[in-house]
Amino acid sequence: MTELVRVAAVTRRFGDQVAVDDVSLSVESGEIVGLLGANGAGKTTLIRMLLGLTATDAGELRLLGEAPSRSTRRRVGYVAQGLGLYDDLTVRENLAFAASAYGHPTPPVPADLVPVADTLVGAIGLGRQRRLAFTVALAHSPALLVLDEPTSGVDPLARARLWDRVHARADAGVGVLVTTHYMSEAQQCDRLVLMSRGRVVATGSEAEITASTTAVAVDAASWQEAFTVLDGAGLPVMLAGRSVRVAAVPRERVEAVLRDAGLDARVRDVAATLEEVMVALDTDRVRVA
Protein backbone atom coordinates (compact mmCIF):
# COMPACT_ATOMS: atom_id res chain seq x y z
CA MET A 1 0.00 0.00 0.00
CA THR A 2 1.17 3.50 -0.81
CA GLU A 3 0.84 6.40 1.56
CA LEU A 4 -1.27 9.00 -0.23
CA VAL A 5 -1.81 11.49 2.58
CA ARG A 6 0.37 12.35 5.51
CA VAL A 7 -0.62 15.06 7.93
CA ALA A 8 1.81 15.60 10.79
CA ALA A 9 1.14 17.95 13.70
CA VAL A 10 -0.73 20.44 11.55
CA THR A 11 -2.22 23.53 13.17
CA ARG A 12 -4.32 26.31 11.74
CA ARG A 13 -5.65 29.35 13.58
CA PHE A 14 -8.19 31.95 12.50
CA GLY A 15 -7.51 34.87 14.80
CA ASP A 16 -7.75 33.55 18.36
CA GLN A 17 -9.70 30.51 17.22
CA VAL A 18 -7.68 27.32 16.72
CA ALA A 19 -9.56 25.56 13.91
CA VAL A 20 -7.13 22.64 13.60
CA ASP A 21 -4.85 21.87 16.51
CA ASP A 22 -1.81 19.61 16.17
CA VAL A 23 -3.59 17.07 13.95
CA SER A 24 -1.90 14.03 12.43
CA LEU A 25 -3.35 11.39 10.14
CA SER A 26 -2.57 9.33 7.08
CA VAL A 27 -4.43 7.69 4.21
CA GLU A 28 -3.10 4.79 2.20
CA SER A 29 -4.16 3.47 -1.18
CA GLY A 30 -7.26 1.27 -1.09
CA GLU A 31 -8.19 2.57 2.35
CA ILE A 32 -11.30 4.49 3.39
CA VAL A 33 -10.50 6.85 6.22
CA GLY A 34 -13.42 8.56 7.86
CA LEU A 35 -12.90 11.97 9.39
CA LEU A 36 -15.70 12.21 11.93
CA GLY A 37 -16.73 15.11 14.05
CA ALA A 38 -19.52 17.54 14.74
CA ASN A 39 -19.94 20.68 12.69
CA GLY A 40 -17.07 23.02 13.53
CA ALA A 41 -14.74 20.19 14.56
CA GLY A 42 -12.18 21.31 11.95
CA LYS A 43 -12.75 18.63 9.32
CA THR A 44 -13.33 20.95 6.38
CA THR A 45 -10.42 23.22 7.35
CA LEU A 46 -8.16 20.17 7.48
CA ILE A 47 -9.30 19.05 4.04
CA ARG A 48 -8.83 22.54 2.62
CA MET A 49 -5.27 22.60 3.98
CA LEU A 50 -4.63 19.18 2.52
CA LEU A 51 -5.75 20.41 -0.90
CA GLY A 52 -3.65 23.55 -0.58
CA LEU A 53 -6.66 25.86 -0.40
CA THR A 54 -5.90 27.09 3.11
CA ALA A 55 -2.49 27.81 4.57
CA THR A 56 -1.19 25.97 7.63
CA ASP A 57 0.31 27.73 10.62
CA ALA A 58 2.46 24.78 11.64
CA GLY A 59 3.09 21.15 10.79
CA GLU A 60 3.74 19.15 7.69
CA LEU A 61 1.39 18.06 4.91
CA ARG A 62 2.15 15.55 2.19
CA LEU A 63 -0.29 14.87 -0.61
CA LEU A 64 0.76 11.96 -2.82
CA GLY A 65 4.25 12.27 -1.41
CA GLU A 66 4.65 15.98 -2.10
CA ALA A 67 3.57 19.32 -0.74
CA PRO A 68 0.05 20.08 -2.04
CA SER A 69 0.35 21.68 -5.46
CA ARG A 70 -1.37 21.92 -8.80
CA SER A 71 0.42 18.80 -10.01
CA THR A 72 -0.57 16.72 -6.97
CA ARG A 73 -4.16 17.97 -7.14
CA ARG A 74 -4.28 16.61 -10.70
CA ARG A 75 -4.40 13.13 -9.13
CA VAL A 76 -7.02 14.00 -6.54
CA GLY A 77 -10.79 13.79 -6.95
CA TYR A 78 -12.62 16.20 -4.70
CA VAL A 79 -16.28 16.54 -3.90
CA ALA A 80 -16.84 19.69 -1.88
CA GLN A 81 -19.65 20.05 0.59
CA GLY A 82 -21.34 22.47 -1.82
CA LEU A 83 -20.62 20.06 -4.71
CA GLY A 84 -18.96 22.70 -6.91
CA LEU A 85 -21.24 22.09 -9.88
CA TYR A 86 -22.44 24.75 -12.31
CA ASP A 87 -26.21 25.10 -11.93
CA ASP A 88 -26.50 26.87 -15.28
CA LEU A 89 -24.78 24.07 -17.20
CA THR A 90 -26.37 20.75 -18.04
CA VAL A 91 -25.22 17.46 -16.55
CA ARG A 92 -23.34 16.65 -19.76
CA GLU A 93 -21.76 20.14 -19.93
CA ASN A 94 -20.56 19.91 -16.31
CA LEU A 95 -18.91 16.58 -17.05
CA ALA A 96 -17.33 17.94 -20.23
CA PHE A 97 -15.96 21.02 -18.46
CA ALA A 98 -14.37 19.08 -15.61
CA ALA A 99 -12.88 16.48 -17.95
CA SER A 100 -11.49 19.22 -20.17
CA ALA A 101 -9.95 21.02 -17.18
CA TYR A 102 -8.12 17.81 -16.26
CA GLY A 103 -7.15 17.22 -19.91
CA HIS A 104 -9.20 14.05 -20.16
CA PRO A 105 -11.85 13.01 -22.69
CA THR A 106 -15.42 13.54 -21.53
CA PRO A 107 -16.64 10.38 -19.81
CA PRO A 108 -20.04 8.93 -20.72
CA VAL A 109 -22.95 10.13 -18.64
CA PRO A 110 -23.70 7.45 -16.00
CA ALA A 111 -26.76 5.37 -16.82
CA ASP A 112 -28.79 6.74 -13.92
CA LEU A 113 -28.12 10.31 -15.05
CA VAL A 114 -28.87 9.72 -18.76
CA PRO A 115 -32.53 10.86 -18.42
CA VAL A 116 -31.31 14.25 -17.16
CA ALA A 117 -28.13 14.46 -19.23
CA ASP A 118 -29.30 17.61 -20.99
CA THR A 119 -31.07 19.15 -18.00
CA LEU A 120 -29.56 22.07 -16.15
CA VAL A 121 -27.93 20.90 -12.93
CA GLY A 122 -29.87 23.50 -10.96
CA ALA A 123 -33.07 21.77 -12.04
CA ILE A 124 -32.20 18.23 -10.91
CA GLY A 125 -32.54 16.81 -7.41
CA LEU A 126 -29.80 16.88 -4.78
CA GLY A 127 -29.29 13.12 -4.97
CA ARG A 128 -28.56 13.30 -8.68
CA GLN A 129 -26.37 16.35 -8.16
CA ARG A 130 -24.29 14.40 -5.64
CA ARG A 131 -24.12 11.48 -8.06
CA LEU A 132 -22.88 13.84 -10.77
CA ALA A 133 -20.33 15.47 -8.44
CA PHE A 134 -19.02 12.00 -7.62
CA THR A 135 -18.78 11.12 -11.32
CA VAL A 136 -16.98 14.40 -12.03
CA ALA A 137 -14.51 13.71 -9.22
CA LEU A 138 -13.74 10.27 -10.64
CA ALA A 139 -13.62 11.27 -14.29
CA HIS A 140 -9.84 11.69 -14.30
CA SER A 141 -9.13 8.41 -12.45
CA PRO A 142 -7.68 9.98 -9.30
CA ALA A 143 -5.41 8.12 -6.89
CA LEU A 144 -7.08 9.83 -3.93
CA LEU A 145 -10.70 10.72 -3.44
CA VAL A 146 -11.54 13.46 -0.95
CA LEU A 147 -15.21 13.68 -0.06
CA ASP A 148 -16.47 16.44 2.20
CA GLU A 149 -19.82 15.42 3.71
CA PRO A 150 -20.78 13.47 0.57
CA THR A 151 -24.03 12.11 1.97
CA SER A 152 -25.37 15.28 3.52
CA GLY A 153 -29.02 15.78 2.57
CA VAL A 154 -29.21 12.48 0.67
CA ASP A 155 -31.92 9.90 1.29
CA PRO A 156 -30.88 6.54 2.83
CA LEU A 157 -31.10 4.61 -0.45
CA ALA A 158 -28.99 7.11 -2.38
CA ARG A 159 -26.57 7.17 0.57
CA ALA A 160 -26.18 3.41 0.43
CA ARG A 161 -25.57 3.53 -3.33
CA LEU A 162 -22.98 6.25 -2.89
CA TRP A 163 -21.12 4.20 -0.29
CA ASP A 164 -21.21 1.22 -2.68
CA ARG A 165 -19.44 3.36 -5.25
CA VAL A 166 -16.89 4.57 -2.70
CA HIS A 167 -16.12 0.97 -1.74
CA ALA A 168 -15.79 -0.02 -5.39
CA ARG A 169 -13.18 2.69 -5.93
CA ALA A 170 -11.33 1.74 -2.76
CA ASP A 171 -11.31 -1.90 -3.91
CA ALA A 172 -9.70 -0.64 -7.12
CA GLY A 173 -6.88 0.89 -5.05
CA VAL A 174 -8.09 4.45 -4.65
CA GLY A 175 -7.50 5.98 -1.23
CA VAL A 176 -10.55 7.73 0.20
CA LEU A 177 -10.66 10.45 2.83
CA VAL A 178 -14.24 11.19 3.71
CA THR A 179 -15.68 13.59 6.25
CA THR A 180 -19.06 13.08 7.80
CA HIS A 181 -20.91 14.09 10.90
CA TYR A 182 -23.15 11.01 10.62
CA MET A 183 -21.71 8.62 13.19
CA SER A 184 -23.82 5.87 11.64
CA GLU A 185 -21.62 5.99 8.55
CA ALA A 186 -18.50 5.13 10.53
CA GLN A 187 -18.89 1.44 9.81
CA GLN A 188 -18.37 2.20 6.13
CA CYS A 189 -14.79 3.26 6.85
CA ASP A 190 -11.72 1.09 7.34
CA ARG A 191 -10.30 3.54 9.83
CA LEU A 192 -11.74 6.47 11.72
CA VAL A 193 -10.27 9.71 12.88
CA LEU A 194 -12.50 11.44 15.40
CA MET A 195 -12.10 15.20 15.64
CA SER A 196 -13.46 17.51 18.26
CA ARG A 197 -12.77 21.23 18.59
CA GLY A 198 -9.94 21.03 16.11
CA ARG A 199 -8.13 18.09 17.72
CA VAL A 200 -7.99 14.39 16.95
CA VAL A 201 -9.55 12.74 19.99
CA ALA A 202 -9.49 9.11 18.83
CA THR A 203 -8.29 6.98 15.92
CA GLY A 204 -8.83 3.36 14.89
CA SER A 205 -11.67 1.17 13.76
CA GLU A 206 -15.14 1.69 15.19
CA ALA A 207 -14.70 -1.36 17.45
CA GLU A 208 -11.31 -0.18 18.67
CA ILE A 209 -12.57 3.28 19.49
CA THR A 210 -15.76 2.20 21.22
CA ALA A 211 -13.97 -0.55 23.18
CA SER A 212 -12.09 2.05 25.15
CA THR A 213 -15.26 3.64 26.48
CA THR A 214 -18.10 2.26 28.56
CA ALA A 215 -21.63 3.51 28.86
CA VAL A 216 -24.57 2.93 31.11
CA ALA A 217 -28.25 2.93 30.17
CA VAL A 218 -30.74 4.32 32.67
CA ASP A 219 -34.34 3.14 32.51
CA ALA A 220 -36.48 5.29 34.77
CA ALA A 221 -40.21 5.84 35.12
CA SER A 222 -39.63 9.50 34.20
CA TRP A 223 -36.76 9.78 31.74
CA GLN A 224 -37.10 13.56 31.79
CA GLU A 225 -36.40 13.65 35.52
CA ALA A 226 -33.49 11.23 35.21
CA PHE A 227 -32.04 13.28 32.39
CA THR A 228 -32.35 16.53 34.35
CA VAL A 229 -30.76 15.07 37.47
CA LEU A 230 -27.81 13.48 35.62
CA ASP A 231 -27.27 16.53 33.44
CA GLY A 232 -27.40 18.71 36.55
CA ALA A 233 -24.64 16.58 38.05
CA GLY A 234 -22.44 17.43 35.04
CA LEU A 235 -22.46 13.94 33.54
CA PRO A 236 -22.27 13.46 29.74
CA VAL A 237 -25.86 12.38 29.36
CA MET A 238 -27.58 11.51 26.06
CA LEU A 239 -30.96 10.20 24.97
CA ALA A 240 -31.56 7.04 22.94
CA GLY A 241 -35.30 6.91 22.42
CA ARG A 242 -36.70 7.13 25.95
CA SER A 243 -33.62 5.60 27.48
CA VAL A 244 -31.10 7.88 29.13
CA ARG A 245 -27.46 6.97 28.52
CA VAL A 246 -24.33 8.19 30.19
CA ALA A 247 -20.93 7.61 28.58
CA ALA A 248 -17.54 7.09 30.22
CA VAL A 249 -18.86 7.30 33.78
CA PRO A 250 -18.80 4.32 36.17
CA ARG A 251 -22.20 2.72 36.80
CA GLU A 252 -21.76 3.27 40.54
CA ARG A 253 -21.42 7.01 40.07
CA VAL A 254 -24.61 7.20 38.00
CA GLU A 255 -26.48 5.11 40.54
CA ALA A 256 -25.26 7.38 43.35
CA VAL A 257 -26.46 10.53 41.59
CA LEU A 258 -29.88 9.00 40.96
CA ARG A 259 -30.09 7.66 44.51
CA ASP A 260 -29.20 11.05 45.99
CA ALA A 261 -31.99 12.62 43.93
CA GLY A 262 -34.45 10.01 45.17
CA LEU A 263 -35.06 8.57 41.72
CA ASP A 264 -35.82 4.91 41.22
CA ALA A 265 -34.16 3.62 38.03
CA ARG A 266 -32.58 0.53 36.52
CA VAL A 267 -28.95 1.14 35.56
CA ARG A 268 -27.05 -1.31 33.34
CA ASP A 269 -23.72 -1.38 31.48
CA VAL A 270 -24.00 -1.21 27.69
CA ALA A 271 -21.58 -0.93 24.77
CA ALA A 272 -20.80 2.70 24.01
CA THR A 273 -21.67 4.13 20.62
CA LEU A 274 -19.29 6.30 18.62
CA GLU A 275 -21.38 9.32 19.39
CA GLU A 276 -21.06 8.61 23.09
CA VAL A 277 -17.33 8.19 22.77
CA MET A 278 -17.24 11.54 21.05
CA VAL A 279 -19.32 13.18 23.78
CA ALA A 280 -17.23 11.55 26.50
CA LEU A 281 -13.95 12.64 24.92
CA ASP A 282 -15.30 16.09 24.34
CA THR A 283 -16.45 16.36 27.95
CA ASP A 284 -13.02 15.27 29.13
CA ARG A 285 -11.44 17.98 27.05
CA VAL A 286 -13.77 20.59 28.44
CA ARG A 287 -12.97 19.42 31.96
CA VAL A 288 -9.24 19.56 31.26
CA ALA A 289 -9.60 23.00 29.75
Binding site: T54, T56, A67, R70, G82, A101
Partner: protein, 348 residues
Protein backbone atom coordinates in the same frame (compact mmCIF):
# COMPACT_ATOMS: atom_id res chain seq x y z
CA UNK B 1 -45.60 44.36 12.34
CA UNK B 2 -43.58 45.96 15.14
CA UNK B 3 -41.42 42.84 15.32
CA UNK B 4 -40.75 43.08 11.57
CA UNK B 5 -39.74 46.74 11.83
CA UNK B 6 -37.42 46.08 14.78
CA UNK B 7 -35.91 43.07 13.01
CA UNK B 8 -35.37 45.12 9.84
CA UNK B 9 -33.58 47.90 11.74
CA UNK B 10 -31.39 45.35 13.53
CA UNK B 11 -30.42 43.76 10.21
CA UNK B 12 -29.76 47.12 8.61
CA UNK B 13 -27.59 48.24 11.53
CA UNK B 14 -25.29 45.28 10.93
CA UNK B 15 -25.19 45.66 7.14
CA UNK B 16 -22.38 48.17 6.82
CA UNK B 17 -22.58 48.47 3.04
CA UNK B 18 -26.26 49.29 3.07
CA UNK B 19 -25.72 51.71 5.97
CA UNK B 20 -23.01 53.42 3.93
CA UNK B 21 -25.40 53.66 0.99
CA UNK B 22 -28.13 55.02 3.24
CA UNK B 23 -26.18 57.69 5.10
CA UNK B 24 -22.65 58.35 3.86
CA UNK B 25 -23.35 58.06 0.16
CA UNK B 26 -26.25 60.56 -0.01
CA UNK B 27 -24.14 63.19 1.76
CA UNK B 28 -21.16 62.58 -0.51
CA UNK B 29 -23.41 62.56 -3.57
CA UNK B 30 -25.13 65.77 -2.54
CA UNK B 31 -21.88 67.63 -1.88
CA UNK B 32 -19.94 66.32 -4.87
CA UNK B 33 -22.74 66.36 -7.38
CA UNK B 34 -24.11 69.62 -6.02
CA UNK B 35 -20.87 71.26 -7.07
CA UNK B 36 -20.57 69.19 -10.23
CA UNK B 37 -24.14 69.71 -11.48
CA UNK B 38 -23.45 72.94 -13.26
CA UNK B 39 -24.01 73.71 -16.92
CA UNK B 40 -22.76 77.30 -16.60
CA UNK B 41 -19.40 77.83 -18.25
CA UNK B 42 -17.37 80.63 -16.62
CA UNK B 43 -14.18 80.17 -18.55
CA UNK B 44 -13.42 79.02 -22.07
CA UNK B 45 -9.89 78.05 -23.03
CA UNK B 46 -8.95 80.26 -25.97
CA UNK B 47 -6.06 80.68 -28.36
CA UNK B 48 -5.66 83.72 -30.64
CA UNK B 49 -3.72 83.42 -33.89
CA UNK B 50 -2.97 85.58 -36.89
CA UNK B 51 -1.23 88.93 -37.36
CA UNK B 52 -3.35 90.85 -34.81
CA UNK B 53 -3.37 88.05 -32.24
CA UNK B 54 -1.77 89.97 -29.36
CA UNK B 55 -3.96 93.02 -29.91
CA UNK B 56 -7.24 91.09 -30.20
CA UNK B 57 -6.38 88.92 -27.20
CA UNK B 58 -6.51 91.96 -24.93
CA UNK B 59 -9.93 92.95 -26.23
CA UNK B 60 -11.66 89.65 -25.48
CA UNK B 61 -14.11 89.53 -22.55
CA UNK B 62 -12.97 87.62 -19.43
CA UNK B 63 -15.12 84.59 -20.38
CA UNK B 64 -12.47 83.76 -22.96
CA UNK B 65 -9.42 82.61 -21.05
CA UNK B 66 -6.62 83.32 -23.52
CA UNK B 67 -3.96 80.73 -22.95
CA UNK B 68 -1.73 81.62 -25.85
CA UNK B 69 -1.25 83.70 -28.98
CA UNK B 70 0.55 82.90 -32.21
CA UNK B 71 0.74 85.71 -34.73
CA UNK B 72 2.37 83.43 -37.31
CA UNK B 73 -0.30 80.71 -37.32
CA UNK B 74 -2.66 80.22 -40.27
CA UNK B 75 -6.35 79.30 -40.49
CA UNK B 76 -5.40 75.63 -40.92
CA UNK B 77 -3.29 75.87 -37.79
CA UNK B 78 -6.27 77.37 -35.98
CA UNK B 79 -8.51 74.44 -37.00
CA UNK B 80 -5.73 72.07 -35.96
CA UNK B 81 -5.58 73.63 -32.49
CA UNK B 82 -9.29 72.98 -32.03
CA UNK B 83 -9.05 69.44 -33.43
CA UNK B 84 -6.15 68.64 -31.10
CA UNK B 85 -8.13 69.95 -28.11
CA UNK B 86 -5.51 72.61 -27.37
CA UNK B 87 -8.31 75.14 -26.95
CA UNK B 88 -12.09 75.18 -27.13
CA UNK B 89 -12.07 78.41 -29.12
CA UNK B 90 -9.37 79.64 -31.52
CA UNK B 91 -9.72 83.14 -32.88
CA UNK B 92 -8.07 83.69 -36.27
CA UNK B 93 -7.27 87.37 -36.83
CA UNK B 94 -5.94 86.87 -40.35
CA UNK B 95 -9.46 87.31 -41.73
CA UNK B 96 -11.66 90.35 -41.63
CA UNK B 97 -13.68 90.19 -39.53
CA UNK B 98 -11.74 87.67 -37.36
CA UNK B 99 -13.01 84.08 -37.43
CA UNK B 100 -13.69 82.20 -34.20
CA UNK B 101 -13.35 78.43 -34.57
CA UNK B 102 -15.39 76.77 -31.83
CA UNK B 103 -15.06 73.12 -30.77
CA UNK B 104 -18.55 71.65 -31.29
CA UNK B 105 -17.55 68.42 -29.53
CA UNK B 106 -17.61 70.33 -26.21
CA UNK B 107 -21.32 70.99 -26.36
CA UNK B 108 -21.91 73.37 -23.47
CA UNK B 109 -18.68 75.24 -24.05
CA UNK B 110 -19.58 75.63 -27.73
CA UNK B 111 -23.09 76.84 -26.86
CA UNK B 112 -21.73 79.39 -24.37
CA UNK B 113 -18.98 80.54 -26.76
CA UNK B 114 -21.40 80.84 -29.71
CA UNK B 115 -23.82 82.89 -27.62
CA UNK B 116 -21.06 85.22 -26.40
CA UNK B 117 -19.57 85.61 -29.87
CA UNK B 118 -23.04 86.15 -31.32
CA UNK B 119 -23.42 89.20 -29.07
CA UNK B 120 -20.45 90.74 -30.87
CA UNK B 121 -22.56 90.89 -34.02
CA UNK B 122 -20.63 91.10 -37.30
CA UNK B 123 -17.38 91.98 -35.52
CA UNK B 124 -16.54 88.29 -35.48
CA UNK B 125 -17.40 85.36 -37.72
CA UNK B 126 -18.20 82.17 -35.78
CA UNK B 127 -17.60 78.72 -37.22
CA UNK B 128 -18.52 75.71 -35.07
CA UNK B 129 -16.31 72.80 -36.03
CA UNK B 130 -17.08 69.05 -35.85
CA UNK B 131 -20.66 69.52 -34.68
CA UNK B 132 -21.94 72.59 -36.56
CA UNK B 133 -25.57 72.18 -35.46
CA UNK B 134 -24.51 71.47 -31.87
CA UNK B 135 -26.45 68.21 -31.95
CA UNK B 136 -26.56 66.70 -28.46
CA UNK B 137 -26.58 63.07 -29.66
CA UNK B 138 -23.33 63.61 -31.55
CA UNK B 139 -21.61 64.41 -28.29
CA UNK B 140 -23.48 61.85 -26.20
CA UNK B 141 -23.04 58.77 -28.38
CA UNK B 142 -19.21 58.60 -28.17
CA UNK B 143 -19.53 59.02 -24.39
CA UNK B 144 -22.31 56.44 -24.23
CA UNK B 145 -19.97 53.91 -25.82
CA UNK B 146 -17.72 54.38 -22.79
CA UNK B 147 -20.63 54.18 -20.37
CA UNK B 148 -21.86 50.92 -21.91
CA UNK B 149 -18.35 49.47 -21.76
CA UNK B 150 -18.22 50.50 -18.11
CA UNK B 151 -21.56 48.86 -17.42
CA UNK B 152 -20.62 45.57 -19.05
CA UNK B 153 -17.06 45.59 -17.78
CA UNK B 154 -17.80 46.47 -14.20
CA UNK B 155 -21.27 45.26 -13.28
CA UNK B 156 -21.68 42.21 -15.50
CA UNK B 157 -18.12 41.00 -14.90
CA UNK B 158 -18.29 41.38 -11.13
CA UNK B 159 -21.62 39.54 -11.02
CA UNK B 160 -20.24 36.71 -13.15
CA UNK B 161 -17.17 36.31 -10.97
CA UNK B 162 -19.00 36.54 -7.66
CA UNK B 163 -21.39 33.84 -8.88
CA UNK B 164 -18.43 31.43 -8.87
CA UNK B 165 -17.70 32.29 -5.26
CA UNK B 166 -21.33 32.27 -4.16
CA UNK B 167 -22.04 28.83 -5.64
CA UNK B 168 -18.77 27.34 -4.39
CA UNK B 169 -17.43 26.61 -7.85
CA UNK B 170 -14.47 28.94 -7.30
CA UNK B 171 -13.16 26.43 -4.75
CA UNK B 172 -13.63 23.66 -7.29
CA UNK B 173 -11.67 25.68 -9.85
CA UNK B 174 -8.90 26.17 -7.31
CA UNK B 175 -8.67 22.41 -6.81
CA UNK B 176 -8.55 21.67 -10.53
CA UNK B 177 -5.14 21.58 -12.20
CA UNK B 178 -5.78 24.94 -13.85
CA UNK B 179 -3.23 27.69 -13.53
CA UNK B 180 -4.63 30.84 -11.92
CA UNK B 181 -3.87 32.62 -15.21
CA UNK B 182 -6.04 30.07 -17.06
CA UNK B 183 -8.94 30.75 -14.74
CA UNK B 184 -8.54 34.52 -14.81
CA UNK B 185 -8.18 34.76 -18.59
CA UNK B 186 -10.89 32.15 -19.09
CA UNK B 187 -13.28 34.11 -16.90
CA UNK B 188 -12.49 37.55 -18.29
CA UNK B 189 -12.03 36.84 -22.01
CA UNK B 190 -15.76 36.21 -22.67
CA UNK B 191 -16.68 39.51 -21.02
CA UNK B 192 -13.95 41.28 -22.97
CA UNK B 193 -15.30 39.86 -26.24
CA UNK B 194 -18.93 40.58 -25.35
CA UNK B 195 -18.13 44.14 -24.30
CA UNK B 196 -16.14 44.63 -27.52
CA UNK B 197 -19.13 43.38 -29.49
CA UNK B 198 -21.40 45.77 -27.56
CA UNK B 199 -19.01 48.61 -28.31
CA UNK B 200 -19.08 47.80 -32.02
CA UNK B 201 -22.87 47.58 -32.12
CA UNK B 202 -23.39 50.78 -30.13
CA UNK B 203 -20.90 52.70 -32.25
CA UNK B 204 -22.41 51.48 -35.52
CA UNK B 205 -25.95 52.18 -34.32
CA UNK B 206 -24.86 55.64 -33.16
CA UNK B 207 -23.47 56.40 -36.59
CA UNK B 208 -26.41 54.81 -38.41
CA UNK B 209 -29.37 56.02 -36.31
CA UNK B 210 -28.10 59.35 -34.97
CA UNK B 211 -25.83 60.23 -37.88
CA UNK B 212 -22.85 60.71 -35.56
CA UNK B 213 -19.76 61.23 -37.72
CA UNK B 214 -16.77 58.94 -37.40
CA UNK B 215 -13.96 61.18 -38.59
CA UNK B 216 -10.98 59.47 -36.98
CA UNK B 217 -9.00 56.27 -37.18
CA UNK B 218 -11.08 53.17 -36.26
CA UNK B 219 -7.94 51.26 -35.25
CA UNK B 220 -7.01 53.99 -32.76
CA UNK B 221 -10.57 53.94 -31.46
CA UNK B 222 -10.38 50.14 -31.03
CA UNK B 223 -7.07 50.47 -29.20
CA UNK B 224 -8.50 53.08 -26.83
CA UNK B 225 -11.62 50.99 -26.25
CA UNK B 226 -9.56 47.86 -25.53
CA UNK B 227 -7.37 49.77 -23.08
CA UNK B 228 -10.41 51.25 -21.38
CA UNK B 229 -12.00 47.79 -21.24
CA UNK B 230 -9.01 46.46 -19.32
CA UNK B 231 -9.56 49.21 -16.74
CA UNK B 232 -13.28 48.58 -16.29
CA UNK B 233 -12.85 44.79 -16.35
CA UNK B 234 -10.18 45.21 -13.70
CA UNK B 235 -12.58 47.26 -11.59
CA UNK B 236 -15.17 44.49 -12.05
CA UNK B 237 -12.70 41.82 -10.93
CA UNK B 238 -11.62 43.95 -7.95
CA UNK B 239 -15.24 44.38 -6.90
CA UNK B 240 -15.79 40.63 -7.20
CA UNK B 241 -12.86 39.91 -4.89
CA UNK B 242 -14.34 42.20 -2.24
CA UNK B 243 -17.89 40.84 -2.51
CA UNK B 244 -19.39 37.65 -1.18
CA UNK B 245 -22.73 37.87 -2.97
CA UNK B 246 -23.99 39.18 -6.28
CA UNK B 247 -26.08 41.76 -4.41
CA UNK B 248 -22.97 43.16 -2.75
CA UNK B 249 -21.17 43.25 -6.10
CA UNK B 250 -24.01 45.21 -7.70
CA UNK B 251 -24.06 47.66 -4.77
CA UNK B 252 -20.36 48.39 -5.05
CA UNK B 253 -20.40 48.45 -8.85
CA UNK B 254 -23.19 51.02 -8.83
CA UNK B 255 -21.17 53.12 -6.37
CA UNK B 256 -18.31 53.19 -8.89
CA UNK B 257 -20.61 53.76 -11.85
CA UNK B 258 -22.49 56.81 -10.57
CA UNK B 259 -19.48 59.12 -10.13
CA UNK B 260 -18.30 58.14 -13.59
CA UNK B 261 -21.63 59.15 -15.10
CA UNK B 262 -21.77 62.49 -13.30
CA UNK B 263 -18.12 63.54 -13.05
CA UNK B 264 -16.62 62.35 -16.32
CA UNK B 265 -17.73 65.37 -18.31
CA UNK B 266 -20.25 63.15 -20.04
CA UNK B 267 -23.25 65.11 -18.70
CA UNK B 268 -21.83 68.09 -16.83
CA UNK B 269 -18.87 69.84 -18.42
CA UNK B 270 -15.63 69.45 -16.48
CA UNK B 271 -14.87 73.10 -17.24
CA UNK B 272 -17.90 74.13 -15.19
CA UNK B 273 -16.87 72.19 -12.08
CA UNK B 274 -14.79 73.55 -9.18
CA UNK B 275 -11.16 72.41 -9.45
CA UNK B 276 -11.42 69.92 -6.57
CA UNK B 277 -14.43 68.19 -8.13
CA UNK B 278 -13.01 68.19 -11.64
CA UNK B 279 -9.86 66.54 -10.25
CA UNK B 280 -12.04 63.69 -9.00
CA UNK B 281 -13.32 63.49 -12.56
CA UNK B 282 -9.77 63.29 -13.90
CA UNK B 283 -9.16 60.27 -11.66
CA UNK B 284 -11.97 58.36 -13.34
CA UNK B 285 -11.28 56.25 -16.43
CA UNK B 286 -14.49 57.21 -18.23
CA UNK B 287 -13.35 60.85 -18.27
CA UNK B 288 -10.34 59.92 -20.35
CA UNK B 289 -12.19 57.54 -22.63
CA UNK B 290 -14.83 60.21 -23.33
CA UNK B 291 -12.04 62.59 -24.31
CA UNK B 292 -10.56 59.99 -26.66
CA UNK B 293 -13.83 58.76 -28.17
CA UNK B 294 -15.17 62.25 -28.79
CA UNK B 295 -11.78 63.28 -30.14
CA UNK B 296 -11.59 60.39 -32.60
CA UNK B 297 -15.23 60.23 -33.67
CA UNK B 298 -16.08 63.92 -33.89
CA UNK B 299 -12.82 65.79 -34.33
CA UNK B 300 -10.88 63.12 -36.19
CA UNK B 301 -8.06 63.64 -33.70
CA UNK B 302 -5.03 61.39 -34.01
CA UNK B 303 -2.49 59.78 -31.74
CA UNK B 304 -0.36 62.94 -31.73
CA UNK B 305 -2.98 64.83 -29.72
CA UNK B 306 -4.70 61.96 -27.92
CA UNK B 307 -1.63 60.21 -26.56
CA UNK B 308 -1.80 61.82 -23.10
CA UNK B 309 -5.32 60.45 -22.56
CA UNK B 310 -4.27 57.07 -23.93
CA UNK B 311 -1.25 56.98 -21.63
CA UNK B 312 -3.45 57.76 -18.62
CA UNK B 313 -5.85 54.99 -19.65
CA UNK B 314 -2.97 52.56 -20.17
CA UNK B 315 -1.50 53.42 -16.76
CA UNK B 316 -4.90 52.92 -15.14
CA UNK B 317 -5.29 49.61 -17.00
CA UNK B 318 -1.93 48.31 -15.78
CA UNK B 319 -2.55 49.46 -12.21
CA UNK B 320 -6.15 48.32 -11.82
CA UNK B 321 -5.87 45.11 -13.82
CA UNK B 322 -2.70 44.04 -12.01
CA UNK B 323 -4.30 44.66 -8.62
CA UNK B 324 -7.39 42.77 -9.75
CA UNK B 325 -5.42 39.78 -11.02
CA UNK B 326 -3.31 39.64 -7.87
CA UNK B 327 -6.38 39.70 -5.63
CA UNK B 328 -8.23 37.16 -7.75
CA UNK B 329 -5.15 34.96 -7.82
CA UNK B 330 -5.01 35.12 -4.03
CA UNK B 331 -8.53 33.69 -3.94
CA UNK B 332 -7.54 30.88 -6.29
CA UNK B 333 -4.15 30.01 -4.88
CA UNK B 334 -4.29 31.06 -1.24
CA UNK B 335 -1.95 28.40 0.01
CA UNK B 336 1.30 29.44 -1.59
CA UNK B 337 2.58 30.13 1.92
CA UNK B 338 1.58 26.59 2.87
CA UNK B 339 3.63 25.04 0.13
CA UNK B 340 6.71 26.75 1.44
CA UNK B 341 5.99 25.77 5.02
CA UNK B 342 5.14 22.18 4.30
CA UNK B 343 8.56 21.77 2.79
CA UNK B 344 10.09 22.69 6.12
CA UNK B 345 10.91 19.93 8.57
CA UNK B 346 8.52 19.52 11.46
CA UNK B 347 10.03 20.37 14.76
CA UNK B 348 7.72 18.17 16.78
Amino acid sequence: MRAMIVKEFRELRRDHRTMAMLFALPIVLLVVFGYAANFTIDSISTQVVGPHADQVATLLPPLFDVQGTDPGATADDARGLVRDDVADVVLDTSTSPPTAYVDGSSLFVAQTASAALGRAGDQVLTEVLFNPDLTTSWVMVPALVGLILTFVGTIITSIGLVRERQTGTLEQLAVMPLRPADVIVGKIAPYFLLASFDMLVVTLLGVWIFGVPFNGNPALFALAAATFLFVVLGVGVLISTASQTQGQAIQVALMTLMPQILLSGFIFPLQAMPAAISWIGYCLPLTWFVKVSQGIMLRGAGLDSLWPALVVLAAMAVLVFSAAVLRFRRDLAPARRTTARTAEPVSA
